[in-house]
Symmetry: C3
Subunit: 423 residues, 3 copies
Amino acid sequence: MNRTALICLLALGLLAPPLAAQEDMAEEKTVEKRLQALEEAMAGEKEETKSSDWDFKWSNGFKLSSADGQFKLKFGGRIQNDYAFYSADDELEAVVGSLGEGTEFRRARLFFEGELYDRVEFKAQYDFGGGDADFKDVYLGLTDLPVIGGVRVGHFKEPFSLEEQTSSKYLTFMERALPIEAFSPGRNTGIMVHRGEERYTWAAGLFRDADDFGNAADANEINLTGRITGLPWYSEDGSRLLHLGLSVSDREPTDDSVRFRSRPESHLAPRFVNTDHFAGDGVTLVDLESALVYGPFSAQAEYIQADVDSLDGTDPSFDSFYVYGSYFLTGEHRPYKNKSGAFDRLKPRRVLGEGSGAWEVAVRYSTLDLTDASITGGELDDVTLALNWYPYSNVRWMLNYVMADLDGAGEADSVQMRFQIDF
Amino acid sequence: MNRTALICLLALGLLAPPLAAQEDMAEEKTVEKRLQALEEAMAGEKEETKSSDWDFKWSNGFKLSSADGQFKLKFGGRIQNDYAFYSADDELEAVVGSLGEGTEFRRARLFFEGELYDRVEFKAQYDFGGGDADFKDVYLGLTDLPVIGGVRVGHFKEPFSLEEQTSSKYLTFMERALPIEAFSPGRNTGIMVHRGEERYTWAAGLFRDADDFGNAADANEINLTGRITGLPWYSEDGSRLLHLGLSVSDREPTDDSVRFRSRPESHLAPRFVNTDHFAGDGVTLVDLESALVYGPFSAQAEYIQADVDSLDGTDPSFDSFYVYGSYFLTGEHRPYKNKSGAFDRLKPRRVLGEGSGAWEVAVRYSTLDLTDASITGGELDDVTLALNWYPYSNVRWMLNYVMADLDGAGEADSVQMRFQIDF
Amino acid sequence: MNRTALICLLALGLLAPPLAAQEDMAEEKTVEKRLQALEEAMAGEKEETKSSDWDFKWSNGFKLSSADGQFKLKFGGRIQNDYAFYSADDELEAVVGSLGEGTEFRRARLFFEGELYDRVEFKAQYDFGGGDADFKDVYLGLTDLPVIGGVRVGHFKEPFSLEEQTSSKYLTFMERALPIEAFSPGRNTGIMVHRGEERYTWAAGLFRDADDFGNAADANEINLTGRITGLPWYSEDGSRLLHLGLSVSDREPTDDSVRFRSRPESHLAPRFVNTDHFAGDGVTLVDLESALVYGPFSAQAEYIQADVDSLDGTDPSFDSFYVYGSYFLTGEHRPYKNKSGAFDRLKPRRVLGEGSGAWEVAVRYSTLDLTDASITGGELDDVTLALNWYPYSNVRWMLNYVMADLDGAGEADSVQMRFQIDF
């Protein structure tokens, strides 16, 4: 090996790395290009994702939300199809009318609702049962205001009664209890301030008595209604709690005309008790609410008293209450919606397929006395046995056996069931 | 070149590769980082995709589905705007009333429907035509049950008649034929089991006669209706098939009151034949169905007989049938929905823009005799010529020329057209 | 250092690069694999994105669009909840009836609309105010046709009046002015061709007088209505413009019965002027439109004349006009929708939170004289002061103070406000 060769070898040795590096660079270029391509594509993805930074899904309602959480929108509806079968004393039917079998769509609703800009809320909900578009929740409002919490304007439930504030989707029995049907103002058109926290809620509003479509023309009367609730006892997971509440309403009857009435907790039956219209220029309603959840067992009771300033000066006073117990055979507990001070949607532990869904049994006693002073509206006592099956959290089959006893007239039994879905 | 220099050179030669490698490593690090960044981003993408694993699109309806196929939801509606022009014999108008020009929204519907958990189905469909919310399909049910297939509760079509089971969106003519309008029970409220397979379907249900809103209070009567259909001949692509079907219905008229009547296959015209109410405590309906698809040509015919147990013992029996042929000038064939035993949505081979859409011509003969025993409801014969244009699968323009002949009274001609879209 | 050692060193020097390269290759393989994995994943993403190439979001309406821009769909609604308080002369109330306080849902609408295949348009919009489903825009049509622009069939606004063509969501005052309420045909069922460009629009259509649900049975009369508008002066950003327009309508009253009437720009009040029905077989309406936008200031005026061919030959002629000015305290300008020749949605410069939303003040004078020839419908003059707050582009609070003067009867004042949201 001569020096020249050696130098050549050395030169090669020196050149080798740059040459190899050059090859590397060529490869590196490919990698570089591909990385760039990927990074650009990913950036494009990101931008696209940004431009459509909205999440849409169905989860007991069609739900759309923005990634930043500022916008939450939802739409959907519910269907309740009822079937009822009656057996009644002839004396009773002579008083209240005949009770035939029947079927009806108890509720058939569609709704759109949303929370916008983290600050605005709205809801538009209509019930097509019976063929007209009854206005249910139709309102707009501001949320998260200091002190008052939220302010709402439009047509919605006056803040009165635990059973009333609980959605008809989540009721334990097919119908609300006698005191609620007879006295609770339900939905009207007005303005309300309301605040809901973990352990308490309060709400107060001014309302006009409105027709089924939220309208009240040529109406000067104003009703003032307020509600306060609290949870003196509450376990973290909500499986044990005690709810106490007080609702009051000071009402100016339209045209000084007062009437209270009720069906026997069976909507396909006629009204069993009825004061008919009588003259009065003021009504005061007081409702004491209580509910206990203790694991799968729960109990609930409300007492409502209605004092009337009647024009004839006799000032009748009516009272009523209900009490019920419920037990989930499959171990669930009744869920409570803290911010509303009301009960919420049940989620079966094991839905149909995984298991048999959730099964609940319940019994209720209700009593309503619409006879006082010169008013003879009648006195009604109801005992209801209930069996509820929840195959999924949005599907329910309810079976109720109602025994109604109209004082001085006789008894009527109803076997009724409901097929329910909300979507 | 001395040894020292040589060694230096060698040392450089030896160092070069590691140095180059170091540079490589530096670059490699960049690549590494970038790859990691990309991989993380991609993983994030995947997770995001997972968290919103829902597909939403419009395809003749707003459609939402979950990636696992367990949830399929859809909402949308239809609009049918009709225009009719009449020319009638004076003698006929003296009998049935005057026939003026007119326009109407024949159907104006919105719906929400879904299949949930691979096991639950629901639909909420309302027709706002005329201003009230007529209940159309409003039901819930379970699907894919062993043997019985599915069970459905609520308001929907009784399983009767091929033409009735075919959606009004897909009818060949603007109105269903005389036998269907006069005798088919349409939608009512009840419960049904139903199974649909590739080559056959059957369904049977119990129904209460319900009002337009699905309700039937104080109603003890029950109707039993069943249907069975099959495809004795069926080509894979559905372009050739023979449908045979039998529908029967055993009915208890509400309040023992029976009435059959029909317009002349023109909805803006008055009813030409009408038995008026008469006393009967039972009706039996039998419907023989047949349809043939042979490429662009199709034919369809049904024969319906109604036997009444009238209280006067004369037991009248009415019968009627229709037969029609249709031909697609643009080569399509009428699509058949195997699981329903009915016809389905036409998809033009070439939509407007690509081509001229689909064009169909058709002719129908219908006859209905409502005169028998002591009942003189009249006898009506209709011949209808039809031209349909489908620019897209969800848009349709229909032109019908109806020649109606009321036995013993005279003739009336109608030129009517429909603008239709479903979304 | 001997030669052997040297050669060994050299050999190492020569081998080093390939060895390093080999290591590189090993690493390169990993990079290669990872790149491939990423590229495949990205391709998968792309395909997935393709399969669901739809963008869904909420932006003053639920909006769905396809990536290729061929499909644009939207659904949502609006709520307007009004409260009114009145003070009126006794003499006036003796003539028009009592004016009580009240609340109502002025509008409560849901809609679905879309543009399909870049060629088809449809809209289905219903107003549930009052409980029935009033048909608003319910139509289908073709767009982007040569020369004529678009053709539309169904129920929609006849092309008449600037104030009428402007959506009720965007009106400056709670109610449209007296001339519009008394004479504008509003929505009817028919067919229209229409074209809208940057600087001009024109439209012409044939319509049947339809009921609230778009229907007109036994109606042979046809109305012909047309409108042409232009922007002789228009700045690029729309902040300065002059709109001029002419609308005409040649009408055949149904059953030769004519009636014009109007409330005092307050919807909870009774109608103050009313010609009652009188016999006439033709009406010609002419409307001169004008509007000026000059930054935050805008002005608008319309003059409408109605000439009647009365059957008694007296041929009364009524005229009316309104003029108003509006000013945005927060600096916005009224936005104009060029393709419609009407005003559009206001977007506050700084929404609530960022700022205080947009604030607008306005004043309007309207006059309507329904007394001429043998007709004594009355003469009404209105002055309205308005304050509008737009916290967001889809939320609005309106306060109107209306002073109405019914000639020869007296005055009535109304304080009224509206809470509005559209979604």
